[in-house]
């Protein structure tokens, strides 16, 4: 295994013990909203405490690229004023949240983790999902670090520096939504949004030890976000409880004509269904390609499968080929998006991203179309499995968080590059748009995630199982022990 590159020592170790009590540190979004709605606290107090935490912790975690302090304070005051008038404040009243910096935020350039986009004019309107969360009473506090143009699984960024893992600051957050994972895992915010094209919600969720939801493809609008691979891009929430994921997800559902891929489906509220738990749900463990290959991932799968009485193994057919097809489509579609910039600004990309994109541009079209044809075949075959089971368990990542700068990791007896392979378990699933909740198994010294995979449009199944596991104490996102 290659040696990791030297990393900056962390002069600031953890600080959370210095925070005053009663400021909602590591408090779930649901509890914050309940406190604000009942008048036990105010949105302004919650947001001020959040901004203080960001100032204190983010110099180490490097999860934010912009803090929208004045906007957040005004918005919090508006929430409090709404309540003072006796009006309903929404299910996420006063809940601070932040978004991966590929979401448009009015008044800011949408970086998408790049140097080039810093020259874009400021966005004139928020991304649709920001609008929906704020309609539910939540308060945006800033934009989060990410891998350049989302072509990343590490959380490293050559322009903004790496997001750091809250459980070990010398380790990766995972990516590409690295800032989202670090900010939620480190307790800076209870809720964040990210994107997932091949695993970019599930990988940082796994490495940072938090919950992440990648909904069904087409479920949540992507309007006014910077794309990567149109036919694979999803958006979704990160949180420290399954209930918080469900509350945020419910607030963001609904058709939006501004996203051509957004499905015109009724809203299926999940939060009211959580207490149904695992009753009546048939759960299997993915084998073959998905068989765990490290002590940590096997331990995590064993704990989760035992708690859900998932005694049955199931083979997802041709998963390795599915991952390969996702790899080709990503390379080609991503390159197509960036073709003009590659012609004129190639030197302004992260070299690792640039070389992948240029190679993607050179991929023969006939092979890309074949991958899209295989995709439909694979989808039809995998959907047949959901006549036998309601959910399938698989590891979220092949290992716990690697060191920042680490180039390779051992996968069984095979040494694999980190950057391309942290998502090897996630890619075959997002390839056909299935909904997945990544649940955190709090192993020591580092957590690792398990994917709960459901049939299309059955986010309720995955979230119910996640909540049941949390109730049993099998999965959890406790504060880091640093």
């Amino acid at each position: 295994m290659n040696s990791p590159s030297p990393t900056t020592p962390n002069p600031l170790r953890y600080f959370m013990l210095d925070m005053p009590a009663g400021d909602f540190d590591f408090t779930p979004a649901a509890d914050i909203a309940a406190a604000v709605a009942s008048g036990r606290s105010t949105a302004l107090r919650v947001v001020e405490a959040t901004l203080a935490r960001i100032r204190e912790r983010d110099p180490v975690l490097n999860s934010f690229t912009a803090v929208t302090e004045q906007r957040a304070l005004r918005r919090a005051e508006a929430v409090d004023a709404t309540r003072a008038r006796g009006e309903l404040v929404g299910p996420l009243a006063g809940v601070p949240f932040a978004v991966k910096n590929l979401f448009d935020i009015a008044g800011l350039s949408t970086l998408a983790g790049s140097k080039i986009n810093r020259e874009l004019p400021p966005a004139t309107r928020d991304a649709a999902l920001i609008e929906r969360l704020e309609t539910a009473g939540a308060v945006l506090v800033g934009a989060l670090n990410m891998g350049e143009y989302a072509y990343d699984f590490t959380g490293e960024n050559i322009h903004d520096g790496a997001s750091r893992n809250p459980h070990d600051h010398d380790r990766m957050s995972g990516g590409s939504s690295g800032g989202s994972g670090a900010a939620v895992g480190g307790g800076l915010v209870p809720l964040a949004l990210g994107s997932d094209t091949n695993g970019s919600i599930r990988v940082p969720s796994s490495l940072c030890g938090i919950f992440g939801l990648k909904p069904t493809y087409g479920r949540l609008t992507r309007a006014r976000t910077f794309p990567f691979v149109a036919s694979l891009d999803h958006l979704g929430p990160f949180a420290r409880t399954a209930r918080d994921l469900a509350l945020a997800y419910d607030a963001m559902q609904g058709f939006d004509a501004d996203d051509p891929a957004c499905a015109d489906r009724p809203v299926d509220l999940v939060a009211p269904l959580l207490e149904r738990g695992a009753d009546g749900l048939r759960v299997a463990v993915a084998t073959g390609y998905f068989k765990c290959n490290s002590g940590e991932t096997c331990c995590a799968i064993d704990r989760v499968s035992a708690a859900l009485s998932a005694n049955r193994d199931i083979e997802i057919p041709q998963a390795e080929r599915a991952r390969a097809a996702a790899f080709i489509i990503t390379a080609s579609e991503g390159a197509s998006l960036h073709l003009n910039r590659l012609r004129t600004r190639a030197e302004d990309y992260d070299p690792a991203v640039r070389d992948r994109l240029i190679a993607g541009a050179m991929t023969p079209a006939s092979l890309v179309v074949k991958a899209q044809k295989f995709r439909r075949w694979y989808r039809d075959e995998v959907l047949k499995l959901f006549t036998e089971v309601d959910a399938i368990l698989a590891p979220a990542t092949p290992c716990t968080a690697p060191l920042i700068g680490q180039q390779t990791f051992m996968f069984g007896d095979t040494e694999l590059p980190v950057r391309a392979n942290l998502g090897l378990y996630t890619q075959p699933i997002s390839f056909i748009g299935l909904p997945v909740v990544a649940v955190p198994v709090p192993l020591a010294p580092l957590p690792v995630g398990v994917q709960i995979i459901a049939a299309p449009w059955r986010e309720d199944v995955a979230l119910r199982l996640a909540h049941a596991l949390e109730t049993k104490g099998i999965v959890a996102a406790p504060p880091p022990s640093l």
Partner: protein, 71 residues
């Protein structure tokens, strides 16, 4: 679906890859600094290795690509 055995694609030789990279860069008007070439070739080789896995899988002539256009 009845499948016909597919011809297994042959691995790309380094010389063929050099030619593909050079010709594609010209055709697409992409700059290719000599210091980037090894990285681009490494990634293209990786893509083509994945593509071979997909290419060898037999699909019927009427297989429809996943994204479907609606008028």
């Amino acid at each position: 679906m009845k499948r016909k055995p597919a011809q297994k694609p042959k691995p790309h030789k380094p010389v063929a890859l050099d030619s593909l990279v050079a010709a594609s860069a010209r055709a697409l008007a992409l700059p290719l600094d000599p210091s980037w070439e090894s990285g681009v070739k490494f990634n293209l080789q990786l893509i083509l290795r994945h593509a071979a896995l997909v290419d060898e899988f037999p699909l019927p002539d009427d297989a429809e690509p996943a994204p479907v256009f609606h008028a």
